[in-house]
């Protein structure tokens, strides 16, 4: 066992054995982030992951049922981490405008915070979230998975942001729409800037995260004014 850092409680149903608890599990997590990033969800296989780890398919299957639950586990970890960042960053802050700005900063820019966990490359995981996260819930079995609480991390995070929106303007009628939309927008607009530039005003420059953050702050404040 090794590895600096916090552990988050991820839904037990998502893995057969907690990868945070063993060296092998931590390596599995770190290499799967790299592999998802390199080849994408569709081309990702446990065979390729095992090869990358100098291990075997059977060993990987001892931790996760399939690549879908592995991805879901990673995405949950990511949302738990963003939730944690938001919590510590808005602690003791009274001004609700500043609070909302911090929230938006952490949604768009989480990966610029200093890393917390040695075996997780938060920056690369953020890339995986942008590219693949919508696949975790756009599935035919969505209702079963939702019943098992597989989306709880995301739902709770949206609920937190929604509560801050309500605090900002208690008369605003659509706090949950705005909250979930902030998350979807953050991922989509970065993706569009990189791959489908006609769909966004954000230019694919180094500072695109900052540009997007500014746009999102501006639009949110206008909506809530």
């Amino acid at each position: 066992m090794s590895g600096r850092g916090i552990q988050f409680e991820i839904n037990k149903h998502l893995c057969l054995k907690d990868p945070q608890m063993t060296n092998y599990g931590q390596k599995l997590i770190s290499e799967s982030i790299v592999l998802f990033h390199e080849i994408g969800f569709e081309q990702f296989t446990f065979r390729k992951l095992a090869a990358k780890m100098d291990s075997t398919e059977a060993s990987v299957y001892r931790y996760f049922e399939n690549k879908h639950t592995l991805l879901l586990w990673l995405i949950c970890w990511y949302w738990e981490w963003v939730h944690y960042l938001i919590d510590i960053n808005i602690k003791n802050i009274e001004d609700v405008e500043r609070k909302l700005k911090i929230v938006i900063h952490n949604i768009v820019n989480a990966s610029t915070e200093s890393p917390l966990t040695s075996y997780i490359n938060e920056n690369m995981l953020h890339r995986v979230v942008i590219n693949e996260s919508s696949k975790t819930y756009h599935i035919h079995e969505v209702d079963v998975e939702e019943k098992h609480g597989h989306f709880k991390s995301y739902e709770e995070l949206v609920a937190k942001v929604s509560s801050i929106i309500v605090e900002f303007n208690p008369k605003f009628k659509y706090p949950k729409i705005l909250a979930s939309n902030l998350f979807e927008m953050a991922n989509n607009q970065i993706y569009f800037a990189e791959h489908m530039p006609d769909l966004t005003d954000i230019k694919n420059r180094k500072d695109k995260h900052i540009d997007l953050e500014n746009a999102m702050v501006e639009m949110s404040f206008k909506l809530l004014s």
Copy 2:
């Protein structure tokens, strides 16, 4: 050959043979919409589709390279259809506020319009778009596909909506963000209402499309005011 209705020009690279031109192709399109709707993209196979059509796998492969391009073809058809609806519905309308309202109505509610093409169930196709469309561009090969113009139908539709937003308020700084966000929001919020209710204020009732339409009009007008 048979079948009432308009034909749209769909990118030639998406199919090996235009399914709109033959009886077999039209049946392929209509049955694939049903099958995508029934079992979702991941479980969908050409073998199952062929069985449903009382045909063979090899015959299906004569029209489409794989299920990904078939889905993309369907989604493109859908956006061409929505584009067409918007064009005829805003024709001769001067008032830009009314224009934007019609646009939003057609984005959220397209499938309530009377059907145009005998072998396409627009309502069911709308369901497929809500459930699966994000998978067409969240792929590792996105840059190649974008270069081949596979997303042109969507991009042009977003451009049209963006131009109406500019007309509404020429000073608004993020017309493309708002336009693409309207489409993403329309799909997501309906999906959330049905499967992840904590993520939206829209209740999963019969009139949810109308509720969402109202919310989207309200928010857009506030942003553009």
